[in-house]
């Protein structure tokens, strides 16, 4: 079945709604507008206003209401338009969703799913181009998913809804139009394991979300240069699949981390540290990183492109860790 990432997410929501009467979707413009990224278009007509619930511009209010509804026995999917607006609900996400289980000594769990768009690349300037899933991955008590493929877009939601704890799903804005084939019976996927998206032996490109297509394109180019790059899609930023990270490094002995987040204090820093801790003697070169430039994402196309990881930058980083003579030098 030919489909898009957007449709795959919509199918996942539809399936969840049909499967469990306790599931409902709540957020800004999810109903009458059809979702700001058109993910929920048509669902209001199908499920009605009670279950496709338009919320006011009130992130702390409706995210907190999602937490309360989860405590009260429902299975809410809360859509926050973008990660940028989720800051208005940080208190509820960080102080309540992430902590209630622990502070209640295991008595109160919060089976809540929060979906939000993330990332830059659409020329919508700094306040709409943040890539801060790595921030959320800092917080114990939350699970952070970054589906980057059609299979994951379709398959992570149900697994997330079955999880007894709060799960945040970050959908990169550039992925919504991603097109491809997806089996009609595409099912749930695990949400705690990374996935090898391309096998390789010479260098590992470790990435997630919106940077995956770029990493795959870079691997393609490297192949033309005679370099076999392995691409590891983290899929889940918390808990991080350390084992998969170390395995790929043990196989290729070279690592390039591609993360749209800013370099300082980033997820890429964490991954690099884990490689140092767990596979230092396997490394044949220092770990390289391709990150977002440390500026608020600019509006003009050329500056924005320069601020975000691109295929060329990934190629350069890969070449820098390869032994002299491997791979064409730019």
């Amino acid at each position: 079945m030919k489909t898009t990432y957007r449709e795959a997410v919509r199918e996942a929501i539809r399936e969840a709604m049909n499967r469990d009467a306790r599931v409902f979707l709540m957020g800004e413009d999810v109903g009458h507008y059809g979702g700001c990224y058109a993910v929920s278009r048509g669902l209001l007509e199908e499920f009605g206003e009670d279950r496709i619930r338009d919320a006011p511009l009130s992130e702390a209010g409706f995210v907190g209401a999602g937490i309360g509804a989860a405590l009260g026995g429902m299975r809410p999917i809360v859509e926050v338009m973008t990660v940028n607006f989720s800051f208005l609900a940080l208190d509820q996400i960080v102080n309540n969703a992430a902590t209630l289980l622990h502070m209640s000594g295991g008595a109160l769990n919060v089976p809540l799913v929060i979906r939000m768009a993330t990332g830059g690349g659409r020329q919508v300037a700094a306040q709409h181009s943040r890539s801060l899933e790595g921030w959320y991955a800092h917080i114990p008590g939350l699970k952070i998913l970054t589906p980057a493929t059609l299979e994951d877009a379709r398959g992570t939601l149900w697994t997330a809804l079955e999880d007894p704890d709060p799960v945040l799903i970050f959908e990169h804005v550039l992925l919504y139009n991603l097109e491809g084939e997806l089996p009609d019976d595409a099912g749930p996927v695990p949400i705690d394991r990374a996935a090898i998206r391309r096998d390789g032996t010479d260098v590992s490109l470790i990435t997630y979300g919106g940077s995956l297509p770029k990493a795959l394109a870079a691997a393609e180019r490297l192949a033309e240069e005679g370099v076999s790059a392995e691409v590891l899609d983290l899929r889940t930023l918390r808990p991080l699949d350390t084992e998969a990270i170390l395995e790929t490094v043990e196989k290729t002995h070279r690592a390039v981390i591609v993360d749209e987040g800013w370099r300082s204090g980033s997820l890429s820093a964490e991954i690099s540290a884990r490689i140092t801790e767990g596979a230092f003697y396997e490394l044949d070169a220092p770990v390289a990183r391709v990150c977002g430039a440390e500026v608020p994402t600019p509006y003009p196309k050329h500056l924005e492109a320069a601020a975000l990881p691109q295929v060329e930058g990934i190629l350069e980083a890969a070449r820098s860790v390869l032994p002299a003579g491997r791979g064409a030098r730019g």
Partner: protein
């Protein structure tokens, strides 16, 4: 502020029950202050002394199926709700026998069975959660009322306004119980909020709202009964502003520079316990012997709670990382 005349005294046994409840909260809290001095209780400790009539008069109106959300000044609510004093005290100690295994402490009393959902240490943080509990009740067709207790300081927070709007917009069965003790930590209502009539502000969201004398346990009870009936009857969200006063500092770290001794003394003349005892006495509903008996019973109960907490155990350090994520599958977590 003038309030309508206080409701007539109830029958003797009920009156004594209300009194007992207030005394339990007070003695428990006084014991906590003492134990804090002995470093048995650590962290932040916010005492409810002076405000007992609010919890004692309002919480028992809720049914067992109803939900309760509170702030960090919630020991009284938990006790009146029926969480065993020993378990509350053990929680204060941080002992494993506490109602949240000691992981929450004074500011985070939880009890799933009693439907006490916090204990929230973020001002106004519990309001959206209460709205959500009410939303779930509505969607599941359960006739539950969610009572949400918070201080007047919360009315300055965005979450307050967002919650009022959502609750009214969606017509949810939530009862907002504002405990207006006049000070948000050390900042007076009058110097921190443009409109100090909180009931009026709730009314701005089309939520029926009343101000209630929070020092009069019977007035509290009467208002709460009407409000809960209205919410349960499908009347949508309601708002009660209980006008009260804390006799002690905000927390144990508070040097109380922001108010005069005279002001505190004036309010103490309206001590909810003393006022109520006076009324009971005047109506011959309590004798000296009975008053002493209640006092002795409560003191024994608090002592027992302390013994329970003292005898409690510390969670093994090996369990540090438990309850960051659930240990049970979602299926088992259903049906709460």
């Amino acid at each position: 502020m003038t309030f309508p005349p206080s409701p007539p005294l109830p029958e003797r046994e009920h009156g004594l029950e209300l009194l007992r409840s207030m005394i339990l909260v007070r003695r428990f809290e006084e014991k906590c202050a003492e134990l804090y001095g002995k470093e048995k209780i650590r962290g932040f400790l916010h005492l409810y002394i002076g405000e007992e009539a609010v919890a004692a008069g309002s919480v028992p109106i809720l049914g067992p199926e109803d939900s309760l959300v509170a702030t960090y000044r919630e020991h009284g609510h938990a006790l009146v709700r029926g969480v065993p004093p020993g378990r509350v005290m053990a929680e204060m100690y941080g002992k494993m026998e506490g109602c949240a295994r000691g992981r929450g402490g004074s500011m985070h009393i939880f009890d799933a069975e009693a439907r006490v959902f916090g204990g929230n240490a973020i001002v106004a943080g519990g309001l959206p959660v209460a709205v959500g509990l009410a939303l779930a009740a509505r969607m599941l067709g359960e006739n539950r009322v969610t009572a949400c207790y918070f201080g007047e300081g919360a009315a300055a927070e965005g979450a307050f306004h967002e919650s009022m709007n959502l609750a009214a917009l969606w017509d949810l069965p939530v009862l907002f119980c504002c405990e207006n003790n006049l000070y948000a930590m050390g900042t007076a209502l009058a110097i921190s909020q443009s409109e100090t009539d909180l009931a009026l502000r709730a009314a701005g969201y089309r939520i029926p709202a009343w101000a209630v004398d929070g020092m009069d346990v019977l007035a509290v009870e009467d208002a709460m009964r009407r409000a809960v009936e209205a919410v349960r009857g499908g009347g949508g969200p309601h708002f009660l502003e209980f006008r009260t006063y804390r006799f002690r500092a905000h927390s144990m770290f508070d040097p109380e520079l922001y108010r005069t001794k005279e002001e505190v003394a004036r309010w103490k003349e309206r001590d909810p316990i003393a006022l109520f005892v006076e009324r009971l006495r005047a109506a011959d509903l309590i004798e000296e012997a009975r008053a002493k008996e209640i006092e002795a019973e409560v003191v024994a109960e608090v002592e027992e709670a302390v013994r329970f907490a003292e005898a409690g155990s510390w969670e093994p350090v090996e369990e540090l990382s438990r309850f960051v994520y659930s240990e049970r599958p979602a299926a088992a977590a259903e049906g709460r």
